[in-house]
Every structure is written in structure tokens, then in C-alpha cells.
């Protein structure tokens, strides 16, 4: 397990991540994916590749199809046409449990049920591994402990979830996802409603998961946070990928103004571009 150096700054993306990613196996692949709800098509031919060890940011305006993309990848919404592979296996061939052993989702605005203890909630992450009528195995318990230590919630194990702060709650939800020992980790707006310190803490934990070899798909509204946490980015607009590449390739003023339909300024800095809308 690689420890990230320095607590003040987030580990610089791209440096070690990209090198690792080049050799690492592909853990998620989408080809020409179309999907939608009822008569309303949302995604129009999405292509995407994610390797173990890298953090891929998915950005785009409201209604661009970011959440729909998460639903498709997690098999909550059926693909109309096109293909999805998770960890080398076609999505259609994976049952719910089999998928949950390969892919974990940290959902947007996750609810934690009142009365449960933190340890119990994280242990739920082992659901796809635990067999009916059996308790969790020693391996399950080891994974739970690992995930809790990695996210810094080990000390909260006996705490009822309703006593947690917002930042602690999100770390518990992340610990639950990490306890699945996934190859692909999908984070859907993990930093919303968190203050700066917790935003940084959470994204640092996501980068650490990537450093451990997990492919991280990070859906974020906040372009500046995304710029600092991602190795590569995907700009989604109206259900299409309009830009893909490194952070500096995607966060370009003309692209962003077209996608978001508003004027923006992009300032470059050593830690990556900063995007500010004109008001």
C-alpha cells in the first residue's frame, strides 16, 4: 500500500499515475454506448477506456448524461446499443453479484440508515462475497479493516452512523465501496456538500485507491477539483463525448464555453488549469 506523501497538497496526478496506467490492464471499456429512459435517449455513442491505476474524470454540464453513464456502467440501466466490458468481461455476462465484485459505486448523496454502526455499514461492502447462511469470513473482515484504515474511519467502527459529520459520512461510504475490493471504482459527485478539507481528504483517498491499482471513474461538477485529481478527463455534452484527453487538453476555454454555454476564464498554474465562469 503506497502512502501519499504530504498532507497539505494533493498528490500530483499524471506523474506516477500515467506511467502506471500505460502498463496496467484495462478495467473498463465502453464502445458506442447508447442508453436512455423510456422514449428519451440520453447517451449517444459513448466511447471510454479506463486502466487500473488511473483516475478518469467525467465532467460536463447538468443533463449531459453523467449520471446516466454511471447507471449504465453499474447495470442499473440497460444499454440500448453498443458494448460495455468490466474487467475484461462483457457487462451482459455479469450477474449482479459478479459485477459488484469487480465494480463499486459510491453513489451521489448516499443515505446511511439510522441505528447502524459504522462497522456494520462498511461490512455491507462485502455483501457480494458473503454466502447465504454464512457469516463473513476472515478475509472479509480483513478487507473491511483495510478499507476502514485506508479511509481513516477505523476508529469510528462502533459509532452509530447518525452521529457522523458530513465528511466522516462520505469517508464511510467510500470505505464501503473499497471493501468490495473493486477493479473499477465509480465516484459520483463524492465531494458535494463537503468543505475544502474534506474535499481534499476524499480525493486523496480516491487517488490512493488508484495508486493501489484500481481504475477510478470520477464524476465531478467542480472542474478545478477534477483538474487536480484526474489523470485524464472526458467532457460530456448532450450525451456525447466532446473532448477527451489530459486535463490541459480538455480544460480549454473554447471547448468549455461551447459545452457549458457561458463565458469562462481559464488560468493556468503549476498544479493545473483553473476555470472560473464570468459573471
Amino acid at each position: 500500500m503506497t502512502r501519499l506523501a504530504g498532507s497539505g497538497a494533493m498528490a500530483a496526478p499524471g506523474s506516477s499515475g500515467a506511467l502506471l496506467a500505460a502498463a496496467a490492464p484495462e478495467v473498463l471499456r465502453l464502445e458506442g454506448v447508447h442508453a436512455g429512459y423510456g422514449a428519451r435517449p440520453v447517451l449517444h455513442g459513448i466511447d471510454l477506456q479506463l486502466r487500473g491505476g488511473e483516475v478518469l474524470g467525467v465532467i460536463g454540464p447538468n443533463g449531459a448524461g453523467k449520471s446516466t453513464l454511471v447507471h449504465v456502467i453499474s447495470k442499473v440501466l440497460a444499454v440500448r446499443s453498443g458494448s460495455v466490458w468490466v474487467d475484461g468481461a462483457p457487462l451482459g455476462s455479469l450477474g449482479r453479484r459478479a459485477l459488484a465484485r469487480r465494480l463499486a459505486v459510491m453513489p451521489q448523496a448516499a443515505t446511511l440508515p439510522e441505528g447502524f454502526l459504522v462497522g456494520e455499514v462498511v461490512r455491507m461492502g462485502r455483501t457480494p462475497f458473503v454466502r447465504a447462511w454464512r457469516g463473513p469470513s476472515a478475509e472479509d473482515e480483513a478487507e473491511v479493516e483495510r478499507a476502514m484504515r485506508q479511509t481513516g474511519v477505523w476508529g469510528l467502527a462502533e459509532r452509530p452512523v447518525e452521529q457522523l459529520s458530513g465528511g466522516e459520512r462520505q469517508r464511510v461510504v467510500l470505505a464501503r465501496a473499497l471493501a468490495q475490493r473493486p477493479r473499477v471504482l465509480v465516484l459520483d459527485e463524492p465531494t458535494s456538500h463537503l468543505d475544502l478539507r474534506y474535499q481534499a481528504e476524499l480525493l486523496r483517498a480516491a487517488r490512493q485507491a488508484a495508486a493501489d491499482g484500481v481504475g477510478v471513474l470520477l464524476v465531478l461538477h467542480d472542474l478545478n477539483l477534477a483538474a487536480r485529481a484526474c489523470d485524464r478527463m472526458l467532457l460530456l455534452t448532450d450525451g456525447r463525448v466532446v473532448a477527451a484527453g489530459t486535463v490541459r487538453q480538455v480544460l480549454v476555454r473554447s471547448r468549455l464555453e461551447r459545452a457549458y454555454r457561458t463565458e469562462v476564464d481559464v488560468f493556468d498554474s503549476p498544479r493545473g488549469p483553473t476555470v472560473v465562469p464570468r459573471v
Binding site: 440508515p113 441505528g115 462497522g119 457480494p128 463473513p136 469470513s137
Partner: protein, 361 residues
């Protein structure tokens, strides 16, 4: 067992064995107490001895052996009172209470709502309407406490819930809000039907009303025997679903992300809960409040995880029901109160105290 191994790792684990053992012991004490109280008081030792002799006699009869002859006439009277009259009733009360509490725990879990109860999907109104119809039809089939009424109630409850499920389903999914709405609507229709039958049939009205309010007066070992396998099956189903029900409390989407087949889980729990409810209603009529209060109280006392909640709710449902029936048959003896009235009268204040203590703490 796995529980012991888990505890050594040190992550929060709430144990089941001790609370379940203590609760079962409490249930056993209440059963002995309840079997001893009535027009003739019988001490705990005599109740236990009579129970042992009763079991012994049943086993001998089952094996085709000649019954043991008791010389003591007073002992034979005690045996008859305990084994033939009181224990079947106490056992039936326990089973009905366990069944309703199981169903309540399952429904509250699957609907993620502490106000859900076993009758939410129309089981009570379906059973009531069918039973009322059969009673009006009269004859031996419609005799109060007869087999015809039981069968009608069971079928009525089951068919109603199946109709509600069929109405609410969207393809292969079972969305919760339409399900509850369909249950309320169909339940209201059938309740109106029952009211009409009540008004239209003056002579049988009292009998129907007695049945509707719930009674354990027609208990027998046969009924206990017919109820037991149904409750065991429903209980096993609920236990098998317990871990998935825990995960479902995270929300349907999050549960699906964790590999739970949410639609199968919902349908399975609804069916298991309906089986338990229909079985209970068929032998005891519509007894309210147990299925709402007991799982809720157990959750407040022992925590929300269903692997503990399901078995503990069954035991405490049994215990609560035995006590409620004891009150129902003794408080205005030799007359009886409808046991449904007692469960509501006792259950409501008890529930309020629990809620207040909870919010005060």
C-alpha cells in the same frame, strides 16, 4: 461459529445468541405463567409436569403405544386443563404473535418505513371480506371458528395481496409507492364490502364482528399443527433475506450496486410476510398492532440489523401475544375481551413510552 470469529477481529459486531436465549427464556416463563392462570389456578411446577406428561402421551400415541394410566383423578383434571385447554391456546397465541411480528419486521424492512405493518397490502381486509362472506353463507361451513372460515380468510388474504402486487408491478419491477397505494385502495374497497355484508346480515353480524376483532378462543392442537409449518417457512424465508434487507436500508440503488437483486428480494419478502399474515389471520382473525409495535420496539431495544431483528421480533411477538391473550380471557372472566382490543390498548401506550424514552435520550 462465525460470530465468535468475527468478534476477535474487533469490528463492531452485535451478538445474537445471548439476547435470543434470554428472550426465549422470558417467553418460556410467560407461557408457563399463562397456562397456569384462569378459572382454576395451577402452579408453575404442576403446569410443567402436566406439559411433560402431555408431550409424553402424544409421543406414545404417535408411536402406537398404550397410554399411561394416571390413578390420581385431580392430576388428570389438571392435565386436561393444561394440556387440552390452555396450552393449545397459549401455543396458538405465541405462533400468531410470532407470525405477525415476523411479517411486520419484513414489511418495515422492505418498505424502509417503521409505520408499515402486516396489513399494509390489504391482507386483513381481504381475509375479513372472505370470512364475512362465508359466515353469511352460513351452515357448518360458516360456523364461527370453523375450518371454512379459516380457509376463506387464508385464501382471501393471499389473493388480495397477489392482486395488489399484480396491479402495482411494472414489468418485472415492483415499485414501492404504487404497491402501497394499490394496497390501501384495494384494502379500502374490501373493507367497504365487509361493512356492507355486516349491515346486510343482521343475525351473523355479531359473529363476524367477533372474528374481525380477533380471538384465540377456538384454539386446538390441530390448529397449532396447521399453523406451525406455515410460520416456519415464512420465518426461514425472512431469515434468508435478513442480510439483504440490511443492505436494502441503504436504498434500492445502493443495494443493487452491492449485488443485491432488489426486485427478487422485495417480492420474496412480500410473499413470505403475506404467508405469515394469512396464516395468522386464518386462525385468529384480524389482530392489530402486534405487527407494527413489536418489530419497532425490538429495533429500538436491540438495534436495526435484520439478522437479529427477525428472530427477536418473532420471540417478542409470541411473548406479547401470549400476555395479551391472557389479559383478554381473564380481565372480565368468565367473559372475554377481543384480543385485538387488548393488543391495541396495551400496545399503544407501551409504544408511546418507548418513543418518548428514545427521543428523550
Amino acid at each position: 461459529m462465525s460470530v465468535a470469529r468475527v468478534a476477535t477481529v474487533g469490528v463492531a459486531v452485535r451478538r445474537l445468541t445471548r439476547p435470543l436465549a434470554l428472550s426465549t427464556l422470558a417467553l418460556a416463563l410467560v407461557v408457563v405463567l399463562a397456562a397456569g392462570i384462569g378459572s382454576v389456578r395451577i402452579g408453575p411446577a404442576d403446569v410443567t409436569a402436566a406439559t411433560v406428561r402431555g408431550i409424553e402421551a402424544s409421543v406414545r400415541a404417535a408411536l402406537g403405544l398404550a397410554p399411561l394410566v394416571h390413578v390420581d383423578a385431580s392430576q388428570r383434571v389438571i392435565d386436561t386443563i393444561v394440556w387440552q385447554i390452555r396450552l393449545p391456546r397459549v401455543a396458538l397465541a405465541a405462533l400468531v404473535g410470532a407470525a405477525l411480528a415476523l411479517a411486520g419486521a419484513g414489511f418495515q424492512g422492505v418498505f424502509r418505513n417503521p409505520l408499515a405493518d402486516p396489513y399494509l397490502l390489504g391482507a386483513a381486509s381481504g381475509a375479513g371480506f372472505a370470512a364475512a362472506l362465508v359466515m353469511v353463507a352460513g351452515g357448518t361451513l360458516g360456523a364461527l371458528g370453523g375450518l371454512g372460515v379459516s380457509a376463506a380468510a387464508f385464501v382471501g388474504a393471499t389473493l388480495t395481496v397477489l392482486a395488489v402486487v399484480a396491479l402495482a408491478r411494472r414489468g418485472w419491477t415492483l415499485p414501492v409507492v404504487p404497491l402501497v397505494l394499490a394496497g390501501v385502495v384495494i384494502g379500502s374497497c374490501l373493507a367497504a364490502g365487509t361493512s356492507f355484508v355486516l349491515l346486510a346480515s343482521r343475525e351473523q353480524a355479531a359473529g363476524i364482528l367477533t372474528w374481525l376483532l380477533g380471538s384465540l378462543a377456538f384454539a386446538s392442537w390441530d390448529r397449532v399443527g396447521s399453523l406451525l409449518p406455515l410460520v416456519l417457512v415464512a420465518g426461514a424465508g425472512m431469515l434468508a433475506a435478513a442480510r439483504a434487507l440490511d443492505v436494502l436500508q441503504l436504498g434500492e440503488l445502493a443495494a443493487a450496486h452491492l449485488g443485491v437483486s432488489v426486485e427478487a428480494l422485495k417480492l420474496g419478502v412480500v410473499l413470505a410476510g403475506t404467508l405469515a399474515t394469512a396464516a395468522a389471520v386464518s386462525v385468529a382473525g384480524v389482530i392489530g398492532f402486534v405487527g407494527l409495535v413489536v418489530p419497532h420496539a425490538v429495533r429500538l431495544a436491540f438495534g436495526p440489523d435484520h439478522r437479529r431483528l427477525v428472530p427477536l421480533a418473532a420471540v417478542w411477538g409470541a411473548l406479547f401475544m401470549v400476555l395479551a391473550d391472557l389479559v383478554a380471557r381473564t380481565v372480565i372472566a368468565p367473559a372475554e375481551l377481543p384480543v385485538g382490543v387488548v393488543t391495541a390498548l396495551v400496545g399503544a401506550p407501551f409504544f408511546l413510552v418507548l418513543l418518548r424514552r428514545r427521543s428523550g435520550a
